[in-house]
């Protein structure tokens, strides 16, 4: 198809390559470097979408990021489908595939557009009113219907195959916005030698210089000057220039989030490039040069495809070389639309008429328009746009009423004036101030180290803008307070403006013909289909604050965040309330400025980098043996080691039996380990644990309990005293980091007088538990320098020596109730020592066992697991561990909390054993326990099951439970009601195997 609206010689894409693309299945040709919007317009396509609520046909309003209407789906492949892409931002590449949204069955004929006819039912606040009756219909009827009809675009249904990267960056001066102001500020800052980042959302720098044909700087066309200046900046070592980069959020202390669109504009991005890169920038000073956004005029049917902002039409012409029509009408309340009319006329486009709301405007642009033979009408309004799928006419009337005249046009270029982009300033918590003379909000009180320059600051005229920006850039660099910059300083001069375009005030609110006495659809917010009438209605229904009006009407709440609509909405509300605009207030601007993909927020943190996966030194061996792993926090732990044909149950049974019959090897490396060193080490241990430590002899171990100050169990573990001033403390696997933090907290802030230091040694030592009657025989042949006899190395002792020729801390301890050892070796030796022990173990029929068997074996002995059998509300007494609390101690963390009235009261839940009447039934962990199963529901629950397993060694199921007054209920029958049956259980002691503990030395 020939691009019939491309104007030979116009625009800046002359050298560009042809790019073929499709829209709704139709093939078109465009030019690389232009936007999808530009390419569609070049092909005469204006109808690109349907509106959200009324499904009205929509075209392009703008040529930039503020676009509310032209949202399309871009599809690269089945997994790369991006909905709600602004066609005015998406750059064209060869093969691009785009689809319209929010229409069925087709864009030109949309069934839901009936909503347009039925629109009285869908007026402001309709969600809150229409669907309220009957009440039951909401869930079954209204909500499903609304959900099906609402929403823009379709979310992709496959994992995102692209990757995203992230970078922290630091600079002295961050300049946001790369128009004339931003470039001038960046030049001044960069010349002083400080670190500068300049970012702009467009692929090309220049901002409004992209369309302002009247700008001349340093003897060049404004846009050409911008390219030269940015090239110069990019070549400087102290400057980073980021194009296609949107500053979406301005956070505390000059922390700004930027998203760089790295490859969305490329035909085949390749694996090397991320799709987007998130920049988290910390800047000493920020210069906001975010420009201004043109406002549309609020008149009847101003949403017809072909009705667009005047500056957009100029951008399409001057930058992309595309005419938006052949016979355009212009509707304006300021001068800048005249410039659009003049540019189009000069390019050979017919300009049917300029309709100006002002009574007697004067100026060079007006004279020039007249000189070009364009019909100019003052004091008149466009009261209606004709046409449906494309604008076909504009109806003009004197603004105070009178005869109508309909002028055929194929596009209407409108301009109500310019709104300074104070979004980022406002996000920085700066307060805007209303300038009554120019009727605009501009930066007022600053909250952070930033400055606004140019149009976003309400500064008019190119010369004034560059003066202000250049000075602000230099000042920002100076204020950044960088010392010794030297090397990067270059001499520069302020760019001289040779010619510029004039600026004039515009209007706010509804135009004549869309006033309070009308019911026309004059859109304020295109994306959310909010009309002037809706806003008035909100006020009539009692909304007074602009925040309420916004939520009631949803004005400004769509993905464009009201970039074009906020000021009009505010003005209409103010007029209806009969209050000045500042008294009605401005809604809060929040991040993100434009939508941000989840991918760029996630960045590198996906797949293997979602979270660290921690593996022990012995992991490769377990993996080679076919172990099944479970996640314990970030750790992968061997869960069980199935032999051929074994399921989990069979493997665990075999492992449990083998440990008690011969021996088993268990990887306990993940246990937290802390070395406590210093002359006051024992004193510190006395304060952090309930147990007494002063008298523990070097070479001996003790099971320690740690409480929080409130008296509840926080952690536990075996502690070995290596020397008078050195303890080797172990913690639970999951508790390691918080126990270390807890201990450091007390040491640094409560007991800083103690001479003791803590070092995490969790990862220094690999730990191999060898448990079972044959354990000593397995270890002994490999040990040097340690007498392993019961006399020399009794249960609960520790020795340092060597195993397989490498250092070891050998603990004699047991978490199975069997004779047991824990062999600590430096981590890099872990696997080799494990293999040596495995070889020896094979001679005795030992097995490797995993965490499941470990859990069963300890439960058979009634050893608790903190965090499973305790839940942060269990005292040592509740857990039957009173013996571990030093009775003569005068202080330790938790000593007072433990004595609180509720913690010593009768009837507390206590840890007990449970045996099911039917030994084959295994209780469910977490199941609730009741005394009388026949009571009415809801039953009084007196406890719950904390641990429950099949014990092959006991030939029955076993369980631990927290039961109110549990230790006084020994032998009592209790009940566990389950969905299918009520299970009868007997309360027992916690030890199910070897009650006398003889096997520790067996």
């Amino acid at each position: 198809m020939i691009a019939t609206f491309r104007i030979p010689g116009a625009g800046r894409l002359k050298q560009a390559e042809t790019a073929r693309f499709s829209f709704d299945g139709q093939l078109y040709a465009g030019v690389e470097g232009e936007t999808l919007a530009s390419a569609l317009l070049a092909n005469g396509v204006h109808l690109v979408g349907r509106s959200f609520k009324y499904h009205r046909p929509r075209g392009f309003l703008s040529a930039g990021a503020e676009e509310p209407n032209a949202l399309v789906e871009i599809k690269r492949d089945a997994a790369r489908k991006t909905p709600n892409v602004r066609a005015t931002v998406q750059e064209l590449y060869d093969g691009l595939t785009a689809q319209s949204q929010n229409r069925w069955p087709s864009l030109a004929f949309d069934v839901s557009a009936l909503g347009d006819i039925a629109s009285p039912l869908l007026s402001a606040g309709f969600y809150y009113k229409t669907f309220m009756w009957p009440k039951s219909a909401w869930k079954n009827f209204y909500e499903p219907k609304i959900r099906a009809a609402a929403g823009l675009g379709v979310a992709p249904d496959q994992p995102d195959p692209d990757h995203y990267s992230a970078r922290f960056a630091h600079c002295d001066v961050l300049v946001l916005g790369g128009g004339a102001a931003g470039i001038a500020a960046a030049l001044a800052a960069a010349e002083s030698g400080v670190r500068v980042i300049l970012a702009d959302e467009q692929p090309d720098f220049g901002g409004s210089l992209r369309f302002e044909s009247g700008a001349k700087i340093v003897g060049q066309d404004g846009f050409a000057w911008a390219q030269g200046a940015v090239a110069k900046l990019g070549a400087m070592d102290n400057v980073r220039v980021l194009s296609r980069t949107t500053a979406f959020g301005y956070y505390a202390q000059n922390f700004v989030g930027l998203v760089e669109r790295v490859s969305d504009h490329l035909q085949s991005p390749g694996r090397d490039l991320p799709r987007e890169r998130l920049w988290q920038v910390r800047a000493k000073r920020v210069v906001l040069a975010t420009g201004a956004i043109e406002r549309h005029i609020v008149f009847a049917d101003n949403d017809r495809p072909g009705v667009m902002l005047a500056s957009a039409a100029r951008t399409y012409l001057n930058h992309f070389g595309v005419a938006v029509g052949r016979n355009v009408g212009v509707y304006t309340a300021n001068d800048s639309a005249y410039a659009a009319a003049i540019d189009l006329k000069k390019a050979g486009v017919g300009v049917a008429a300029i309709v100006d709301l002002r009574d007697n405007p004067t100026g060079a642009l007006i004279d020039e328009a007249r000189a070009l033979g364009i019909e100019v009408n003052f004091g008149r309004a466009v009261i209606r746009a004709g046409g449906k799928l494309r604008v076909s006419s504009m109806t003009v009337q004197p603004k105070n009423g009178g005869g109508e005249r309909t002028i055929p046009v194929d596009a209407i270029l409108m301009s109500a004036g310019w709104t300074p982009s104070v979004h980022l300033f406002s996000q920085s918590r700066g307060k805007v101030a209303f300038n009554d003379e120019t009727k605009r909000f501009v930066p007022g009180t600053y909250a952070q180290d930033c400055v606004s320059v140019g149009a976003c600051n309400g500064t008019d005229g190119l010369s004034a803008t560059i003066d202000e920006a250049y000075a602000a850039g230099a000042k920002a660099a100076k204020d950044a307070g960088v010392k010794n910059i030297g090397a990067n300083t270059v001499k520069g001069t302020k760019p001289k403006v040779d010619a510029s375009e004039s600026w004039s005030r515009g209007m706010l609110g509804a135009a004549p013909g869309a006033g309070p006495d009308t019911t026309v659809k004059a859109f304020v917010d295109f994306q959310n289909d909010v009309t002037a009438k809706d806003i008035r209605q909100a006020v009539h229904e009692g909304m007074r604050s602009i925040e309420h009006v916004k939520r009631f009407t949803t004005n400004g709440m769509a993905t464009d965040q009201g970039k074009t609509s906020n000021m009009h909405g505010l003005a209409i509300a103010a007029e209806t309330l009969d209050k000045p605009i500042p008294q009605v207030g401005l809604t809060t601007f929040r991040a993100p400025y434009t939508p941000v993909t989840f991918g760029s927020i996630v960045g590198h943190a996906r797949g293997p980098l979602f979270d660290p996966t921690r593996k022990t030194a012995i992991h490769p061996w377990a993996e080679a043996q076919g172990a099944v792993f479970e996640d314990v926090g970030q750790w992968k732990r061997a869960w069980y080691f199935p032999k051929a044909g074994e399921d989990m149950h069979a493997a665990v049974d075999r492992e449990c039996v083998t440990v008690r019959k011969t021996a088993g090897l268990f990887d306990a490396s993940t246990l937290g380990k802390i070395e406590v060193v210093g002359p006051d080490a024992a004193k510190f241990m006395e304060l952090l644990y309930t147990n007494p430590w002063e008298k523990l002899e070097p070479g001996r171990c003790r099971y320690g309990i740690m409480l929080r100050e409130d008296g509840f169990i926080y952690d536990d573990g075996v502690v070995g005293r290596l020397a008078a001033d050195r303890f080797h403390v172990t913690t639970t696997t999951g508790g390691a980091p918080r126990v270390m933090n807890h201990m450091e907290d007390y040491l640094q802030t409560e007991f800083p007088h103690l001479n003791v230091w803590l070092t995490s040694i969790t990862e220094q030592w690999a730990v191999i538990a060898v448990q079972g009657p044959k354990s000593r025989e397995i270890i002994a042949p490999l040990i040097e320098g340690i007498d392993m006899s019961d006399g020399a190395l009794p249960h609960m002792s520790v020795r340092e020596g060597r195993i397989c020729g490498v250092p070891t801390r050998l603990f004699r301890m047991s978490f199975t109730g069997e004779r047991g050892f824990e062999v600590n070796v430096p981590a890099d030796y872990g696997q080799a020592v494990w293999e040596a022990l495995w070889t020896e173990g094979q001679n005795h029929g030992a097995c490797a066992y995993g965490t499941e068997a470990m859990h069963v074996l300890r439960a058979e002995k009634g050893y608790i697991i903190v965090g499973q059998d305790t839940d942060g509300t269990v005292t040592p007494n509740d857990a039957g561990l009173d013996w571990a609390v030093g009775k003569k101690k005068t202080d330790f963390v938790g000593i007072r909390g433990m004595a609180r009235p509720d913690l010593v009261a009768k009837g507390r839940k206590q840890l007990v054993g449970l045996k099911t009447r039917d030994p084959k039934v295994v209780l469910e962990e977490g199941a609730q326990i009741v005394g009388d199963p026949k009571q009415a529901i809801p039953m009084t629950m007196i406890g719950h099951v904390t641990s429950s397993y099949w014990s092959e060694n006991c030939g029955r199921s076993i369980a631990l439970a927290l039961v109110a007054g549990g230790r006084d209920r020994m032998g009592e029958t209790l009940y566990v009601p389950m969905p299918n049956a009520t299970i009868e259980v007997e309360v027992t002691g916690m030890v199910f195997f070897d009650e006398k503990g003889e096997r520790l030395n067996g």
Partner: protein
């Protein structure tokens, strides 16, 4: 992300390196076991949670690992100052309006 000045590292560092540790200047009794129920309640459970100036503990967890104290305005989220653990509550706050 805030910047927090660590009094031990003597410079501002990114918030990601820090962890909040609750209200500061709540003294643990030297004779803990003899504390009355009321005093223990105040010590362990009661926190001021002010709108405005709060004295709080932070730990430079992924930096020098020291605990220290900070004065922060809960309304503006601004840190007024930081000081080492064990140092008294500052008598004067820099730039405090309240």
């Amino acid at each position: 992300m805030l910047l927090i000045r660590c009094p031990y590292c003597e410079e501002e560092r990114p918030e990601l390196e820090f962890r909040n540790a609750g209200e500061a200047h709540i003294a643990r009794s030297a004779d803990m076991a003899a504390t009355s129920d009321d005093d223990f309640e105040k010590f362990f459970f009661i926190r001021s949670n002010p709108k405005g100036i709060i004295y709080e503990r932070w730990r430079h967890m992924h930096g020098c690992a020291r605990f220290f104290n900070a004065v922060r305005d809960t309304v503006s989220d601004r840190f007024l100052m930081t000081y080492k653990a064990g140092e008294p509550k500052p008598a004067k706050l820099p730039g405090a309006s309240e």
